[in-house]
Amino acid sequence: MHEETGGGGEAAAPGDGTVVGLAGVGKTFAGGTVALEDFSLTVRRGEFVSLLGPSGCGKSTVLRIIAGLIAPSAGRVDWPGARDAAAHAISFVFQEPTLMPWATVFGNVHLPLRIKGVKAASARGPVIEALEKVGLEGFADAYPRELSGGMKMRASIARALVTKPRLLLMDEPFAALDEITRFRLNNDLLVLWRQLGWTVVFVTHSVFESVYLSSRVMVLAARPGRVVEEIAIDEPYPRDEEFRTSARYAQICRETSHALSAALGAGEGA
């Protein structure tokens, strides 16, 4: 189940269900920090890909490059499907809930549609539907400060899914939550993923979370950020508490941990 990519260099071949392909992407920031070097990643339709690595390995930079928020300094980002359609079907979930404190939950979830010119009255249906999906029905009129950390994150996810994205980018969305809440949100996220047919790129520094959620884990090393190992997780979905407590899960976690340790070593050696 291990598959060495050796820092892989193959570009995205069109027509194989690729949503987005990064080929030889590098990013050097103005200060001279090399955040990414020769980074390649092909995300196929319907996948749940995790980027796992230590802090400073450029995980978030990858997401921002895919989202088009920052431009790579080297390499290519390919959208084999219709470029515009794909670009507009991206949603982003940040580490913090990033809600507007002055707006109600409804207002926050309405935001992406509002930017596209959909008035509140006609957005009511989709917004309420999104809130129902994350279990926040009945909280449309609450303000973010009235919600717990987990509920804020649910509102943030509702905002991400209200535009019916094809590609969901998540940047350590549950890192700041307690374990119980995180487990619950992990389960709910998997249900939504299967139900809505998303493609997810998920950034995390938690081995357990990445193994539990993903169909594929990319292990990254830091300074400069690059892929050191790709681990396919061929366990069937739906996954639940049964899987979380299984020996198989523990074994994959151990292997992934070893890969991560090796990545840390590689990072220090570089």
């Binding site: 990033t98 930017i115 009129d141």
Partner: protein
């Protein structure tokens, strides 16, 4: 606010409060009462002390009147003083409105173009650091209408806090939210309308509260500079006039009206700020302990 208390912040519905909780509740209640009673008691005490000092030292009323005499004068001279108060308030509020429109407008312009900010901000700073007393005579010479001159002086002092605070607020928008707006292809106008302006609201209101007091000070300073020559008959003019005539009780009465006007402006703006922010901003939220 359906279900607001359901999970986010659960109200305690547990067993009956124990002695500790009751004593804390009593302490809170005492504090609430003290908040209103203490200032009133202290003010009353200060007035009594003032009265006693005047009586015991036999101070003549043209040096320092007794509080009772000041109150009488306030009622007797009310037509004159009310007129003066109205004039001063008119200048103050006019200046505040222009300062708000101009300050917010310029702040928005600053955030839209770095070039505009770089070229205009120094002027704003020059206006701010130059004492208005020093510029007022020039303005009174250059501008024919006294009330327009007074308006300009009051505006100069009230303008800067609004500009500076609003600019800071507009630039304080959450970076992740800015990214989100960019991701969804928001226009500049949408970014301003849905993100920057709401973010700037608490900052702007803080500036407005400072500006309210400053506008009054600006108006009064300008009136003093205009002096008795001015056609305006604001509170400062009445103070000067009363001083020349040694009508000290009226001077005191005018002074008190001035303070009350300042307090009223502050309270009104505080209320406006509270009403605007009560739903979401930390400054307007009570804490449950």
């Amino acid at each position: 606010m359906s279900g607001a208390g359901e999970t986010g912040r659960p109200r305690s519905r547990g067993p009956a409060p124990d002695a500790d909780e009751l004593s804390r509740a009593r302490a809170r209640a005492r504090q609430q009462i003290a908040r209103f009673v203490m200032p009133v008691v202290m003010f009353a005490a200060a007035i009594v002390v003032w009265d006693r000092i005047v009586v015991w030292n036999g101070i003549p009323h043209y040096i320092m009147p007794r509080p009772g005499l000041v109150a009488e004068t306030l009622i007797e001279d009310w037509p004159i003083l009310a007129d003066a108060l109205a004039n001063t308030l008119e200048i103050t509020l006019g200046a505040l409105v222009i300062a708000t429109v101009g300050g917010v407008g310029l702040a928005i312009l600053f955030t839209q173009s770095k070039w505009v900010e770089l070229s205009l901000f120094p002027f704003a700073v020059v206006l701010q650091v130059t004492p208005v007393v020093a510029i007022a005579p020039l303005i009174l010479i250059y501008v024919d209408s006294t009330s327009v001159a007074l308006l300009i002086c009051a505006w100069i002092v009230a303008f800067f806090p609004i500009l500076a605070n609003t600019t800071l607020g507009l630039n304080s928008a959450d970076h992740n939210l800015q990214d989100l707006f960019q991701l969804y292809g928001a226009s500049r106008w949408q970014l301003l309308r849905y993100l920057r302006l709401p973010t700037a609201m608490p900052y702007f209101l803080g500036g407005l509260r400072i500006a309210g007091g400053l506008a009054l000070i600006g108006a009064i300073v300008a009136e003093f500079t205009a002096g008795t020559a001015g056609s305006g008959s604001g509170l400062a003019f009445r103070i000067l006039e009363a001083g020349y005539r040694l009508n000290i009780p009226r001077l005191f009465a005018a002074l008190i009206l001035m303070s009350l006007a300042g307090i009223a402006i502050f309270l009104v703006l505080t209320l406006v700020s509270h009403l605007a922010l009560r739903n979401w901003h930390e400054s307007a939220l009570g804490r449950e302990r």
